[in-house]
Symmetry: C3
Subunit: 260 residues, 3 copies
């Protein structure tokens, strides 16, 4: 059995196993590194949205509308999606700790220390709780998506949810700076490279996959790759940064990047 | 001196000692296991509301309106209650850490990792911070109400607030699934049975009382009872699941369920 | 090189070094202990606002408007400031972990467990994420502002951000009780004196500076000063409570209160 984890740029992933097809944070329109558009996405069993930021919520509505796929998200994102026209029974709101089964997929939302806010069509502002997720596309392959969390002591999440693959934000997508106008500039992402590498250690993942960047050449991504090894007490952790469009093949305990 | 802790179903409790009468999360109307209605509740000294969810806020407004009892809650719940017509001086907003004295009761709100959202009468949406509470109905009897928190490292709360009785969510009330419509289904509550049992250990409570269920026969409740012992490093922790309407009598270091 | 840290009462500070002038939580109008008014404040390089509470947001808008100084804050405070008329490019929203450089100052926002809510001019309610901050006015002088957080395990913040000076809330400004009307009364601030002293230990600061009070004679402030020493495992930590208007001079590893 093989799990195919395809990187769609920024924080978007498509995870396909024999049993499940899971789409996470499908930001494609406006994502300069996206390898495809929202209409190219095959119907997933479930779409996971970590929070309402445009570079995470992305095309979730359009893909759900076209394919009928259900969405798992926080209550604020659910309010927004229903406001945009998705039917109530296509969206499942959850929160940290409440495991849900949607589209046949067991989804485990875990704590994420970030923020989430959306504006409804009538101007009302709705704030919610951002989510990180753990899903298990095949037995033993447990994928953690960080959902833009800041660093915190994640050892308990490691012990209770034992993820094997971590999609860990370590940078700020330079190409998206225009999405956050304002004074001055952002220097790091929600986690510095060191903090991201530290979460890999605290979570105990085998594969530490860089997330939340425009280009693998970003110095923060490169520093993350270096620091994962430096902070690794297991001697076995593998760090990688995928090009958008690349597929990581995970087969039991082995893995490789698919030839293009 | 004896403290009487009466379970009113789901997450609702009435705690009565010689000095205090405390009502927590009084969800009675629409609670299939409630042993009484809101009009049967004697005037409490204070009503504690952990967050704005209907199965926790419940009949707080009606009981406060009828009895004049003050309410302690978060700022979003206060906004909702004032919007519904309670006078400002009947509601005390607080947040994690700010101990308040209301109705002669010292109320200690502690961190709760969940969410809280309400809609005011004019449609405005207000989000806030959910609360867990510690109260001391008699000296040495310190009751922690979890307020729907997800699991986190609660050892510091244990050390600083040293609760002796924990009201710990370990399930999802099956009878209330209709309150959260959407795709798929919820598999667990905010804490799995193992996570809830782990919080009992981290908090160091003597009595670990199951909370947030419809029926004590719920497999998650039964697993919680089993796991509390398994994770107990003190060898002295007692786990219990009360029937709605039952009263737990706590007398210094001893306790027993009242005969019906 | 000397850093001048001036206390402006409650939680407001002006930090001036040869390189930077930083203003934090400039609550002056309505602050009974403020040594000056908003028009007396020299143009800062940057204004930091931890959250939307009136005793923290304070005169930030007026000072920014008059001086043109940029503001760093959470997204809800940014929404409020733009609503009040500040231009978008004068305000930088950030969140825990995203370091920003604004006005030439590197600002490091760290986790803060509190709440933040504001009402816009059209009545809309916006909730956000409160911030604590670390700034370095000169190399090696790293100032942490607690931003009204409740206590939590801050050891990781200590390890990753290694603050040397902690501005630590340990009381509730008695003179401001009218800002929070409601039933009963507040007994403590967001942190008890013991909790505040414990954060000094967890953060590893050399200087533990009391914050969030009206008068240094407040019993909670006095208890904080005592407990900082009691909980200090380094044997070197210095606790102090400044009078509003006083200036703390920090010169490398030495410090003293300026003569008035």
């Amino acid at each position: 059995m093989t799990t195919r984890l395809r990187f769609l740029g920024v924080a978007a992933y498509e995870i396909v196993s024999r049993r499940h097809r899971i789409l996470i944070d499908p930001f494609l329109t406006g994502n300069p590194s996206a390898p495809c558009g929202p209409n190219d996405i095959e119907r997933p069993d479930v779409i996971l949205v970590t929070h309402a930021a445009p570079d995470h919520l992305g095309d979730a509505f359009a893909i759900a509308k076209r394919t009928g796929a259900p969405i798992v998200c926080g209550a604020d994102v659910r309010a927004l999606l229903l406001d945009q026209g998705l039917p109530s029974d296509q969206v499942r709101a959850t929160v940290w700790g409440i495991r849900v089964e949607v589209g046949g997929v067991l989804v485990e939302p875990v704590e994420c220390r970030h923020w989430s806010m959306a504006t409804l069509s009538d101007g009302r502002i709705v704030s919610g709780v951002p989510l990180a997720f753990v899903v298990e596309p095949e037995p033993g392959v447990r994928v953690y998506h960080y959902g833009d969390t800041a660093v915190f002591d994640m050892r308990l999440i490691g012990e209770l949810y034992h993820p094997t693959v971590g999609l860990l934000g370590c940078a700020q997508p330079r190409a998206l700076a225009h999405l956050a106008p304002g004074a001055g500039r952002m220097v790091t992402g929600e986690q510095s490279p060191r903090e991201a590498a530290l979460t890999a250690e605290m979570l105990g993942v085998k594969l530490a996959v860089a997330c939340h960047y425009s280009e693998t050449s970003d110095p923060d991504v490169q520093e993350f790759l270096r620091l994962v090894s430096e902070l690794d007490t297991t001697g076995k952790r593998v760090a990688m940064a995928m090009e958008a469009g690349q597929v990581l093949l995970i087969d039991g305990n082995s893995h490789r990047l698919e030839d293009v």
